[in-house]
């Protein structure tokens, strides 16, 4: 998977490295802003309220 990713990237190694870092940053951003908040909402491992449910 990662070998395939490295193969399809264009340019010399440092361009590939740069593109890979940008891709990683994009994934982290997506996780932090969208995915993780949605997951945390479902997990509620830190819910501190009392309710009747």
């Amino acid at each position: 998977m990662y070998a395939w990713w490295w193969r399809i990237l264009p340019g010399p190694w440092w361009v590939r490295l740069l593109l890979s870092l940008v891709a990683v940053a994009a994934v982290v951003l997506l996780c932090f802003e969208v995915v993780f908040p949605a997951v945390a909402e479902r997990l509620a491992i830190n819910d501190g309220t009392v309710d009747g449910r």
Binding site: F36, V39, I45, N46, G48, T49, V50, D51
Partner: protein, 249 residues
């Protein structure tokens, strides 16, 4: 990586195993990233936002102080204690007070936000809708995160009987003193009843109840602290003596 020379069937199987392995490693990294996000990043961002909200509230109160009409105590009126500063329930999500707990550190100041929804609790301590407002007879019920999102109630288990919990509004300081704590099931809503643990009873005192998750990092139980209103002081009189730092004992 390349097993081009070997038998096609074997190399395909090996490639499949390799991909599965990489997927598992990726899943592990993402899980680790989630833990970092939940424990540290939410704490960092919410903590910063809450500190900014406290500053904003304080400057708003400072500028509007002279124009604030004197709160009219309404003795005899049901549900009114001497000098209720906030007598209209704020809109959900609005920060309307600041909580100070000397036991949690001298710099501790967290906004109190109306409502206990997920987003409310990320912005500060949540005020259970429909429960008493600061100073009111009844039960001022507050929920806060014990871990993550600024963790305002991180040290809730350190509170000792007699410790001060101070709630500041635009016009007044309310000093509550811790009376007791208990650990209950999450469904035990009677802890935030107008008279704590006595649902249906008519309140005659102004209580404050704090709820947080228990044990830490778990939603299995709730750590609950009850405090009773001790004194009320006008904002113009300056911060109350109850804000004095307490020792770590």
């Amino acid at each position: 990586m390349s097993a081009a020379g070997s038998a096609p069937g074997g190399s395909r199987a090996r490639a499949a195993v390799g991909v599965v392995g990489e997927l598992l490693v990726t899943a592990g990294l993402l899980t680790l990233l989630f833990v970092v996000w939940q424990l540290y990043w939410t704490d960092f961002t919410s903590g910063r936002a809450q500190a900014a909200e406290v500053d904003q509230l304080q400057s708003r109160w400072a500028t509007s102080a002279p124009a604030t009409p004197g709160t009219v105590p309404t003795p005899g009126a049901p549900g009114a204690a001497p000098g209720v500063a906030v007598d209209v329930t704020p809109p959900q999500g609005d920060a309307f007070a600041i909580a100070y707990v000397p036991r949690f550190g001298s710099g501790y100041a967290v906004p109190v936000v109306e409502g206990t929804g997920t987003s409310d609790l990320q912005e500060g301590i949540g005020h259970y809708r429909g429960t008493a407002l600061p100073g009111q007879v009844g039960n001022l019920a507050l929920a806060g995160h014990r871990v993550t999102y600024g963790k305002p109630f991180n040290l809730i288990a350190d509170l000792q009987d007699g410790d001060a919990v101070v709630v500041a509004t635009a016009t007044q300081w309310f000093t509550y003193r811790v009376q007791s704590h208990e650990i209950v099931r999450p469904s035990q809503v009677s802890v935030i009843a107008p008279v704590p643990d006595q649902p249906g009873a008519t309140p005659t005192q102004a209580w404050l109840t704090m709820t947080a998750c228990h044990p830490m990092h778990s939603a299995r139980q709730r750590y609950v602290v009850h405090a009773l209103l001790e004194s009320v002081q006008d904002r113009s009189a300056g911060p109350p003596a109850s804000l004095a730092p307490v020792g770590q004992g």
